[in-house]
C-alpha cells in the first residue's frame, strides 16, 4: 500500500484523491471540534486540501510526515479564520475548485465527526500525553499555561505533546 508521502508526491491526480480519502474525515472532525459550525468546518477542510494540492511540490519527504504537514496547514487555516472571522478561499479560487454546498446530512455527519474523530484517537494515548495533547492541540492552550496547571515544567509538557503527536501519527499510519 503506498505511503501518504508517495500519494502526496505522485503525479497521478487520483493519488491525491486517495490521500484525501485517508484524512478528510479526520480533518472535518478536527475543524468541527474547534469551530462548532459544520459549514465553516467544511470550508476550512476544502481550503486546507486545496492549499496542500498547491504546496505539495514543496513538501519534503524526510522532514516531517505528510499527515503532520497536512495538519500544519489546517492549523494555519484555523488561525487565519480566527483572525479574519471568515474562511479564506484563496487556494480554491486559484485552482478553480467550485464551492461545494453542505447539505443537512453532511452537516450532521460533520458534527458527529467533530465529537468522535479526534477524541477517539487521543483517548487511546497514555494519560499524561492524552491530557497534554488535548490541552495544547485541541484546546489551543499554550505550553506554559498547561505547565502551570499541571505543576510541571514547560519542557515536560512539550515532550508529552511531542510524544503524543508522534504516537498519533503512528496510529493514523497503522489505520491506513
Amino acid at each position: 500500500m503506498p505511503s501518504d508521502e508517495d500519494l502526496l508526491l505522485s503525479g497521478d491526480p487520483e493519488d491525491f484523491g486517495r490521500f484525501y480519502d485517508r484524512y478528510v474525515d479526520m480533518l472535518l472532525g478536527y475543524f468541527a471540534r474547534r469551530i462548532h459550525d459544520p459549514e465553516v468546518a467544511a470550508d476550512l477542510t476544502a481550503e486546507t486540501f486545496a492549499a496542500a494540492l498547491v504546496a505539495r511540490r514543496r513538501f519534503r519527504r524526510a522532514k516531517t510526515p505528510a499527515v503532520a504537514w497536512l495538519f500544519g496547514i489546517a492549523q494555519h487555516k484555523l488561525a487565519d479564520y480566527r483572525r479574519r472571522g471568515a474562511a479564506e478561499d484563496r487556494m480554491r479560487h486559484r485552482l478553480g475548485v467550485q464551492h461545494v454546498p453542505v447539505g443537512e446530512d453532511d452537516a450532521e455527519m460533520i458534527t458527529l465527526l467533530g465529537r468522535d474523530a479526534a477524541w477517539q484517537l487521543i483517548d487511546e494515548l497514555p494519560a499524561d500525553q492524552r491530557d497534554a495533547v488535548r490541552a495544547h492541540v485541541l484546546e489551543d492552550r499554550t505550553y506554559s499555561d498547561i505547565a502551570v496547571e499541571s505543576s510541571t515544567s514547560e519542557a515536560v509538557v512539550r515532550k508529552r505533546v511531542s510524544r503524543g503527536l508522534g504516537a498519533l501519527r503512528q496510529r493514523m499510519g497503522a489505520r491506513r
Binding site: G11, F16, A68, A79, Y143
Partner: protein, 272 residues
C-alpha cells in the same frame, strides 16, 4: 455523504488541471522548443539592450545593471500578489514599491504605517506541535523598543536607539551575527543574521498569547517573535526612522529559500 465525494471530485479535477498545465512544456517537440528558446533569448536581448540604453539603476549589493521594462503599477491591498506587477504601499512610511517574481506571495494587512508583512508559502506544524507561520518578508520602522533591563513591559517602553545593531546584539533573547555592509534600493545600510533563542522570554508578548496562543518575546510594540525564529535583518538609514527589512523563517533551509525568493523583491525595491 455528498460533500465529501463532491469535494473529492473537485480536488482530483483540480489536480488533473495542474498536471495538464505542466505537461505541455515537457512534451514540446525538440525543434519547437529550440525555436521558442531562441525567440525568447532574442526578445530578452532586445529588452536588455533597450532598457540599458534608456536608463540604469544601482541594485542591491551590486554594480550598475539594466533596469527592466516598466511594470504595471498597482496600489497594494491585502490578498495574493501577482508577479511582474509593481505594488505601491498606501500606508507604510516611507512609501515603498516592489515587484514579486513568483505567485506564492500574499499580504493581509496593508493599512499600517509602521509595518508591512509579505508572506510566502504556507504555514506548517513542526514536530513539537508548534504552529509555524509561512516565511515572511517584513518592512518596518522601529520607533520604540522594550528595554530588556526593565522588567515590567509597559515601563520598559523606550525610544528606539540610534544603534539598532548594538541594541539587537545586547538583547538577551537574541543571538546576532556580524554586521556587513549592503546597499538596497540605492541606500547603503547594514545586514546581519538574528536567531531568537529563549527559554522564557524577557518580555512575553500579550497579544501573541491572547490571539495566537503562542509564547513570543516582545522586542517592541508590534514586534513579537517565537523562539527559534531565524531572521536576516537589513537596516537602512531612511527618514523619519530607519527602515528595517526582515526575512524570516523557522528553519535554516527555509530561511535560505526565503532569502532566495526575497532577493528579486529587494532588487526591485524603491523607497519614497
Amino acid at each position: 455523504m455528498s460533500f465529501v465525494s463532491d469535494l473529492r471530485d473537485e480536488l482530483v479535477a483540480a489536480a488533473e488541471r495542474e498536471q495538464a498545465r505542466r505537461l505541455p512544456r515537457v512534451e514540446l517537440p525538440v525543434r519547437q522548443t529550440l525555436l521558442a528558446a531562441a525567440a525568447a533569448a532574442a526578445v530578452a536581448l532586445i529588452v536588455i539592450i533597450a532598457a540599458g540604453s534608456l536608463s540604469t539603476a544601482r541594485d542591491e549589493d551590486g554594480p550598475i545593471v539594466a533596469e527592466p521594462t516598466p511594470e504595471p503599477i498597482r496600489d497594494l491591498f491585502g490578498g495574493e500578489l501577482t508577479p511582474d506587477v509593481r505594488y505601491r504601499t498606501r500606508a507604510l512610511v516611507p512609501q515603498i514599491s516592489f515587484v514579486v517574481a513568483d505567485d506564492e506571495w500574499k499580504t493581509t494587512d496593508t493599512e499600517q504605517p509602521d509595518v508591512l508583512a509579505l508572506e510566502h508559502g504556507e504555514g506548517y506544524f513542526d514536530p513539537d506541535g508548534e504552529r509555524r507561520p509561512p516565511g515572511l518578508l517584513v518592512f518596518g520602522r522601529v520607533i520604540e523598543v522594550y528595554d530588556p533591563a526593565v522588567k515590567r513591559l509597559s515601563a520598559s517602553l523606550t525610544t528606539a536607539p540610534a544603534d539598532l545593531y548594538g541594541w539587537y546584539r545586547a538583547h538577551p533573547d537574541l543571538r546576532v551575527g556580524r554586521a556587513r555592509p549592503v546597499t538596497v534600493a540605492g541606500v547603503p545600510g547594514q545586514r546581519f543574521d538574528v536567531e531568537v533563542d529563549f527559554d522564557r522570554p524577557t518580555h512575553p508578548d500579550p497579544q501573541c498569547r491572547r490571539l495566537l496562543q503562542l509564547t513570543c518575546t516582545a522586542l517592541g510594540p508590534g514586534a513579537a517573535f517565537q523562539d527559534g525564529t531565524l531572521m536576516q535583518l537589513t537596516v537602512l538609514p531612511t527618514e523619519p526612522e530607519p527602515l528595517v527589512i526582515s526575512v524570516e523563517h523557522f528553519t535554516r533551509a527555509g530561511l535560505r529559500e526565503m532569502e532566495k525568493v526575497s532577493a528579486p523583491v529587494l532588487k526591485s525595491l524603491r523607497i519614497g
